[in-house]
Symmetry: C2
Subunit: 244 residues, 2 copies
């Protein structure tokens, strides 16, 4: 935890914050914060800054706040992700939050198991907690927007174009594509969408629909990577391709 993230319900009318639970325990037992110490804090969706410890005991952590710094810049990336197994999703959600991804859309695909959509990892509280872990890690305050779409075709045909009006560059890593990732350099400035398939890859029908929606297939090479490895790798590469 590299930043204590404050929620609206932590804030008091006098402008101070009162934290309990995991964050208070962290401040007490890991940071060993005593009266007068300054801790790095941020307000969910807002600014970051310092919290000066007014009190820290079993009843919680009481801070006076000075929030004046913008959170880190966004990655400018939308991820369209074939829904991963729950175990992988639990790794991917904190990772995408820590990377500053703007939006994650979990979609169905021919090669994923329908049951993944019933995972308790997708419960609103569970998702929020996983995203917050990533924000605390990266000292960010803005979680990715998360959408879950169980029907691939109507989503890609009817809804996706509207979601991507401000996303000019759309890429589809695909094992059999002939364009190598290096050939994408330089990407035009602006936001980028990445459509990352399941481990077995998107099926031809899915590639066709995504291509019609403007996604350009390219190849990362012969290695098949787990989604939790592929996502940071691709986010890092897009960052370089756009600015390098």
């Amino acid at each position: 935890m590299n930043l204590l993230l404050l929620h609206d319900e932590d804030l008091r009318e006098d402008g101070t914050a009162h934290l309990t639970g995991r964050r208070a325990v962290h401040a007490r037992e890991v940071l060993r914060a005593g009266e007068g110490d300054r801790l790095r804090v941020g307000r969910l969706g807002g600014l970051t800054g310092e919290g000066r410890v007014i009190g820290n005991g079993p009843e919680g952590l009481h801070l006076s706040l000075s929030l004046d710094t913008a959170p880190p810049p966004r990655a400018g990336i939308t991820l369209l992700l074939a829904i991963p197994r729950p175990k992988a999703l639990k790794k991917v959600l904190p990772a995408v939050a820590s990377l500053g991804v703007d939006r994650v859309i979990l979609v169905n695909a021919a090669r994923v198991e329908k049951s993944y959509f019933d995972s308790k990892v997708l419960a609103q509280d569970a998702v929020h907690e996983l995203l917050v872990l990533g924000l605390e890690q990266a000292r960010d305050t803005i979680p990715p927007q998360l959408q879950v779409r169980e029907r691939f075709r109507p989503f890609v045909e009817d809804e996706l174009p509207g979601l991507l009006t401000d996303v000019p560059t759309r890429l589809l890593p695909h094992p059999t594509a002939s364009t190598p990732v290096q050939a994408l350099h330089p990407l035009p400035p602006g936001k980028v969408a990445l459509a990352i398939g399941p481990e077995g890859g998107w099926v031809p029908f899915e590639v066709e629909l995504l291509s019609k929606a403007g996604f350009l297939p390219f190849s990362l090479g012969p290695r098949i990577l787990r989604v939790e490895v592929a996502v940071p790798l691709l986010v890092g590469q897009v960052d370089l391709l756009r600015t390098g």
Copy 2:
């Protein structure tokens, strides 16, 4: 498991292979491989190709082999890694194997806990199993070389230069460095070493020693990433910086 990895002890004198345990169960229950089916196989440290099923039952999986394809190209990357917590190490080892990293050196650092070196994840069998998981994932046969060094200073001063004689480019991602990653483009051809510190970063003394060993500090930006996220991101970026 995208490839069945064969060890020497699986091979019979007649050139066939006989597999038991996890891989046989996978072939039977996941791949549902029957007589005559062709499975993707590779020999640890050697070629990949096909295994034709001769028999598949509770006594194991019997394959005739045709191995004629080189494994995927290496990443050409040496990772010098401040030893992560055991839980993170269990994620990082399969990841580095799947990425084709040549060598991983786990070192001590001022900001890691000494007890990490006693982790049972570092037992030879445990390491081998984690690396094999990564190879099976990426259809590779060549595991990264792994070295563990508990004394940072003598290692960096006395041993590291000899290990890096064929590694011209040496990089040190460091939060406070003034060179952004984009400014590294293009990297000279050849192998690259990356020295990835603990979450709190390398301390100044460590940065100084690594700088003397030819490591150039650069910054990835303000986000602090978990090692299992930073490693694939950096490997992907080095790949682009060297070839892009």
